[in-house]
Amino acid sequence: MATVVYKVGDDVSTDVIYPGRFMATVLPNETPQFAFADDATFKSKLKANQHVAEKILVAGNNFGCGSSREQAASCLKGYELIIIGKSFARIFLQNAINLGLRVVICPTIEASEGDELELKGDEILNATNGQRFPIEPMPRSRQAVIDAGGLIPYTRQKLEKLAA
């Protein structure tokens, strides 16, 4: 069981997830401090849920639209959040998968902050309201990267194979 700790609407851009003025900070271990920097409730909600084992961010359509900045994915990865979105912008989705950030595409998801969700193979059960929502499979092209745990280990394996 995982808990929804933060909920956002449609078209949340990378400028909102990771404002441009912090873009000089690039290293994945340094970016989490600036996640949703212009919304003070993000950090307070995470703090209030610090003992929750699995934390979920629920998003609407087109989450992560805009810039290709990878900080938008690495800053969320730093909190080990699971991102459940109705849909994702292409570059953000790829960045998330490349970095091993857990993302779930669920076009009909309905959940509020505080709800308990159970992620089953192909559906999400909202245990708080009893509703079930089907999960859409990841782009087929990305499954191998997900299985490898991210693009860095995937590319590393590929290079080692080429060198062997």
Partner: protein, 441 residues
């Protein structure tokens, strides 16, 4: 070219992007949904090369292999996002990139300079680095710009780029379906490519082309110069598109020869007449009015009459969208001999050093300054709110850039409206959003 002819003979009809991906993947044909690993012809980064370097070295960590880029002649690094550096942190990142460039012999490196510097999406085309039919990846979402030259160009993240630097291919690309956009009619005076793309984004929404390609056709596109096509493809990503593309034609060849000093053969890749499109969108620009994208999404587009009269505090002309010579020309013509309104400030950012020098020679920059505008150095400037030209609380900007997301110009308590250079210039004189077709313009 051998492989090109083979594709032409193939029974399977393809879109431009399908043809480019087939060739780059050494396949006779591909179709939307296929998973391929295309070879990359050009791999572009800007300041975020600092993160690419970090991820690149990470790939090799714990292996017996020595980090080595696959082809130093195909990597381009252009400093543009914060030039000159606004902080010690940025300056140190840029230093780190310079050291990598020297160590790995990266050849297409454009430092902070007035001769060869500028915004990456202007530097690439004006140096002839982008060729029709090529595969271009860039760690910038507006890499879609380069579709204007008939290339398949798309944005990726830094880790994806690190993988390209190591392997020379993009791993696991799903061939995107294509939406055909057919544009007819003749633009009215003071209406142009920016108004067309804003209108299209408003029509299909910010995710209307997510994971898809926008392929532009029709008489209005044939008559449009490369500068205008760059505007369309640049903002294709604002509809979520993986790429925008204008199939290469005589204008593409003219641009490459005359403006990018390209010699040698230029090959066109054209779609098959019976290629499969997911959707066809027809637009007649004959009656199109100037369009404005209102806060805080690029698809919140309205014809100018619905927002005219709104007070603006900062006018910005520039960026990879509208910082080229013809953009500056139309704005300078409107502003010449006039004054920027009191309590309104105007910032002009030519897209490259080359454009800056051309605009200087033609007297545009002098006209801007005499009107009261500030002419800044080439670069991304205030577009992404990281460097200069930030907005105050409650202030409103009217800008020729490409994004109006909350906080985009450095302040979440401000608003950004997007428009064409003509609207920006006419509005600078009045201090309110103004239709350039009205008054003495």
């Amino acid at each position: 070219m051998e492989r090109g002819r083979k594709i032409e003979r193939d029974s399977m009809s393809m879109t431009v992007v399908e043809k480019i991906l087939a060739r780059a993947s050494r396949l006779s044909a591909v179709k939307a949904g296929d998973v391929v690993e295309p070879k990359v012809d050009l791999a572009m980064s800007h300041e975020n090369a600092a993160l690419v370097i970090n991820q690149f070295l990470e790939i090799y960590r714990g292996t017996s292999l020595t980090p080595k880029v696959w082809d130093a002649s195909k990597i381009a690094i252009i400093f543009d996002h914060r030039v000159p550096a606004e902080s010690p942190k940025t300056a140190s990142n840029q230093k780190k990139v310079r050291e990598f460039v020297a160590e790995h012999f990266v050849q297409k490196f454009h430092d902070i300079r007035g001769d060869v510097g500028g915004i990456c999406h202007q530097v690439l085309p004006e140096n002839g680095y982008v060729r029709p039919g090529s595969v271009v990846v860039g760690t910038d979402s507006h890499t879609t710009s380069h579709g204007a030259l008939g290339a398949f160009a798309f944005g990726v993240g830094a880790t994806e780029m690190a993988s390209v630097w190591a392997l020379g291919t993009v791993l696991n690309v799903e061939v995107p379906p294509t939406i055909k956009v057919v544009v007819t009619g003749k633009f009215k005076r003071f209406v142009g490519p920016k108004d067309l793309i804003l209108h299209l984004i408003g029509k299909i929404t910010a995710q209307g082309a997510n994971f898809k390609v926008l392929e532009f056709h029709g008489p209005a596109i044939e008559q449009m110069n490369t500068s205008g096509r760059l505007v369309l493809c640049n903002m294709a990503v604002e509809a979520g598109a993986t790429a925008g593309i204008v199939p290469a034609d005589d204008e593409t060849a003219r641009y490459l020869r005359e403006e990018a000093s390209v010699t040698g053969s230029i090959e066109f890749v054209e779609p098959d007449v019976d290629a499969t499109y997911e959707q066809v969108i027809d637009i007649d620009v004959g009656q199109l009015a100037p369009q404005i994208a209102c806060p805080h999404t690029v698809d919140n587009v309205k014809p100018i009459e619905e927002v005219a009269g709104r007070k603006v505090h900062q006018i910005v002309i520039g960026s990879c969208t509208n910082g080229r010579l013809d953009d500056l020309a139309v704005a300078a013509k409107i502003l010449k001999g006039r004054k920027v309104a009191p309590n309104t400030r105007m910032l002009v950012f030519p897209a490259s050093g080359k454009i800056y020098r051309q605009a200087l020679g033609k007297g545009y920059l002098g006209a801007f300054m005499q009107a009261g505008a500030l002419v800044m150095n080439p670069g991304c400037g205030p577009c992404l709110g990281v460097h200069e030209g930030a907005l105050g609380d409650g202030e409103i900007a009217l800008s020729t850039t490409n994004r109006n997301f909350k906080g985009r110009m450095g302040n979440p308590n401000s608003e950004v409206y997007l428009c064409s250079p003509a609207v920006a210039a006419a509005s600078a004189i009045t201090g309110v959003i103004t239709d350039p077709r009205k008054g003495n313009n």
